[in-house]
Amino acid sequence: MEIFKQTNFDFLGRKWPFILLSLLLTVAGLISLWIKGGPKYGIDFNGGALMDVNFIKRPPAEAIRAALRHKIAGEIEVQEIGNSQEVLISTGARDDNALQVVRGDMLSTLNTAFNTQEAGKFDINLASQSGLADRLREPLTRGGVLLSEDQLQGVTKAIAKFRDTPPRSGLISNLDDLSGVSGVTAPLLKVVKQECFPGNFAIRSVETVGPRIGADLRQQAVNVVLIALAAMLVYIGFRFEWKYGVAAVIAVFHDTIITIGLFSLLGKQIDLTVIAALLTLVGYSMNDTIVTFDRIRENLKLHVRGSFSSIVNLSINQTLSRTVLTSGLTFLTAVSLFLFGGQVLNGFSLALVIGIIIGTYSSIFIASPILVFWHNMAAGKAGPTRATAVEVRPAGTGKGVKTAKTVK
């Protein structure tokens, strides 16, 4: 199967619609960033507290927000994770001391507002394995279930594992479900039911970030992306020529700006993993550009007939098959991550998906025209571009490939 047999699209000739599209996307992104006052930073960059709570029956987001607002100052954001009973609660930045307190405050507010209360009983969905063991030790002896310490730890570990693996994901809704767990006998289950009750929610993760670290990280993120771009410029300048380096870096920079702009338009948060994705894209987008540039260099060495821009066009056509296929396959894996990878990687995989599309597009429609433009600018002062006297048929292009007849 072959999709691109011997194509001969005039990419450079038809560059203007695509450059306009790029400009449009860039401007749209920048306007969105300007209106919203910058990118939407996650707590990695802003500081604050983030709590991931899984409910058996999720209350409406507004109710959660209202309950928390009583006890916790500052802005509170409650984000429902679709298709599940999970909720992400985040509070705004505050100083280190306040942060220490806020975690406890959030937990106690959620407890009073949304948890079923059963006096004297132990909430099994908020318990750690050792806490459960400590709680059950005496009642088990009193109830006539004699276990050694090892056995007790073993059975509580099994219960905790049962609770924490999918599909229960941290919540037991019915204590009878425990009867299948290894080590849980009927008398033991009876004691458990006497001592414990299944609470309405479980805390999946808590993250608190102080303001100083957040600001630090923001500064570093910008620095790092700039360093990466500079490193690319140096490497490509060294392997090819400076104008190739500049064209490649402008293209990748354009990718980064558009991706951040799209994130802003879509209202998505930018956290540390998104920056990781952007850096990966910087490296990856270079790949496409390098493959094309390599081909251009090879064609120049083989003294292929024609002007510089026609050689560039030819090179793009020759590498088109590879570019589209590779990007397509990497895109498949990124999409797979986005669809199945879960909520934690959501920003990361979205950045990859957007970035791969834009990166491929920019290698074809942005990097090469810039290169030609630069070359012609530089050569325009030195005289018309080359046209070789001897026609040497380069290997691999076969018969019938047209090269442009006019000298631009």
Partner: protein, 541 residues
């Protein structure tokens, strides 16, 4: 044939080494799973656990150091019979200004300035002195000395926290310097800890125990204490508040004591501590044992101060001020702990030693085990889906040669996971994403080669020369593209935190392994196919 056979065994060797690295030599399914779990270290975000970023308040250590030096300076001046009016420490208030702590000496008689400066340069050469006036001097720390103190404080804090955490039974926890260029941040990782509250409390308790000679007290308040002495503190003393009744450390009343500036016994002098049953039933005490040196000092002090009061000060609060009945050698007891847990905690803290500087929590991240299990599950599904999609696409597009690429891909993934196991690298959720991404990018090398081969075939070359030049022409491009991605991963590694570092590492290992599998292994499979006795006229590509 011969080179081909060597290549075959080389590849087989690599496969076996990788398999061994991942699952060892299992004799049963249970052992296989156990080996797998031992070899692949899961990061905190997949296992569940807590990580803390701690900022060491270096200025505390600098201030303490300046305090000791000031005392020594006073002694030295006294011995040389230079009547100095005052030696004060200008404390550093924040972390950024820690280096600027200064000692101000006032009132050195002009006539003895020479002798004084002599003392400074002989005994206090780590400090720079600047005369403020004919009689006053200002000493600041030399940069080399300051740097040494930064690093020493960080190392000491790290070791103490390490001891405390291990004493709590968290044997898998680690404490490390967070970044090479930041001399004041520590990263504590505690797998399996759901609620770091108790741990944080232990870490933060300085538990600085000091014994002071009491000059006066207890007074009801600061003002009362000062008024006894005409409104100022007597020379060489300081005020120490007593633990109030609300303070869990002490059940007796509050108040203020006047004590000598320098303690008789301080934290590092304590050799051992343990909780003990109190004299009254259901009460707990913490007993402590002094080191030999300190014991000698304490014996001579207590022997000569019988009938006077000794203040037991914990974290700058007077716990009690008993009268010395007789000479005490090396043992002491702190009474009145509210519970057994408190006595144990205090003993733990005394033994671990006090932190040279206090700490602040900058960042705290707790991942519960259920989120970890879900993340692994989701990562796994995404991985399988992605890899299957790629394999199907390759087979459809490149027919039989697609099998070639698939085998190379699988070997690539195998090498990647084995490397993680051998290097003891930690697998995080972004790391899993890195593996999946590597698969996607790895396929690029194969595509480059196959497209080139197709071109050569189209240009009319025979099969074997076409494969040959396909590989050789594509090699340089493959290397170029890999280098750029590796460079950006290196930057990511230097900059990122734990999980992101994991991502960078898996991506780099995957790319390096890819050069091997795409070029060497792929080539081998082609060569093997083409070396069959039946001449091959067409290539399924």
């Amino acid at each position: 044939m011969k080179p081909l056979r060597i290549k075959f065994f080389l590849i087989l060797g690599v496969v076996l080494v990788c398999l061994y690295g991942i699952i060892g030599l299992p004799r049963s399914k249970a052992e296989l799973i156990a080996n797998w779990q031992n070899n692949i270290h899961l990061g905190l975000d997949l296992r569940g656990g807590t990580y803390l970023v701690i900022q060491v308040q270096q200025q505390d250590a600098f201030n303490a150091n300046a305090g000791t030096v000031a005392e020594r300076l006073k002694d030295a001046a006294h011995k040389a019979q230079i009547p100095v009016a005052d030696v004060e420490v200008e404390e550093a208030k924040t972390l950024e200004t820690a280096n600027n702590v200064a000692i101000v000496v006032k009132g050195v008689p002009a006539g003895q300035a020479g002798t004084f400066r002599g003392i400074l340069s002989e005994q206090f050469s780590q400090w720079l002195s600047k005369p403020q006036s004919p009689t006053d001097y200002r000493l600041t720390m030399k940069p080399t000395e300051a740097l040494a103190l930064w690093q020493q404080t960080l190392a000491q804090t790290k070791n103490t926290i390490d001891k405390k955490i291990n004493a709590l039974g968290l044997t898998e926890a680690t404490v490390q310097q967070r970044r090479e260029d930041k001399d004041s941040e520590l990263l504590v990782q505690m797998p399996g800890v759901d609620d770091p509250g108790h741990v944080k409390q232990i870490i933060q308790t300085a538990a600085v125990l000091e014994l002071y000679d009491v000059k006066g007290g207890p007074f009801a308040s600061r003002e009362e204490a000062l008024s006894q002495n005409g409104g100022v503190l007597p020379l060489g003393t300081k005020l120490i508040g007593a633990a109030t009744a609300a303070d869990p450390q002490n059940s007796r009343g509050g108040g203020v004591y006047i004590a000598t500036r320098t303690p008789v016994v301080r934290g590092p002098d304590i050799r051992d501590a343990k909780p003990e049953n109190g004299d009254l039933p259901n009460t707990w005490d913490t007993g402590f044992v002094l080191s030999q040196d300190a014991a000698k000092r304490f014996a001579s002090y207590s022997g000569s101060h019988i009938g006077q009061r000794l203040a037991i000060v914990l974290d700058n609060k007077v716990l009690s001020a008993p009268t010395i009945q007789n000479q005490i050698n090396d043992q002491g007891r702190i009474t009145g702990a509210p519970s057994q847990q408190d006595a144990m905690d205090l003993a733990l803290n005394l033994k671990a030693g006090s932190l040279p500087a206090s700490v602040r929590y900058e960042q705290e991240n707790t991942v519960g085990p259920s989120l970890g299990a879900d993340s692994i599950h989701q990562g796994f599904i995404a991985g399988i889906a992605g890899v299957l999609a790629v394999i199907v696409a390759m087979l459809v597009y490149y027919k039989r040669s697609g099998i070639n690429a698939t085998l190379a891909l699988i070997l690539n993934a195998l090498i990647l996971i084995a490397c993680l196991s051998y290097f003891g690298a930690v697998l995080t959720l972004p790391g899993i994403a890195g593996i999946i991404l590597t698969i996607g990018m790895a396929v690029d090398s194969n595509v480059l080669i196959f497209e080139r081969i197709r071109e050569e075939l189209r240009a009319g070359k025979a099969v074997i020369p076409a494969v040959d030049s396909g590989f050789s022409k594509a090699l340089l491009t493959i290397i170029d593209t890999h280098v750029t991605t590796v460079v950006s991963c290196a930057i990511l590694f230097l900059f990122g935190s734990g999980p992101v570092k994991g991502f960078a590492v898996t991506l780099v290992i995957g790319l390096v392994a890819n050069v091997f599998t795409a070029v060497f292994v792929s080539r081998f499979i082609f060569d093997w196919e083409l070396s069959r006795p039946k001449p091959v006229t067409a290539l399924s590509i």
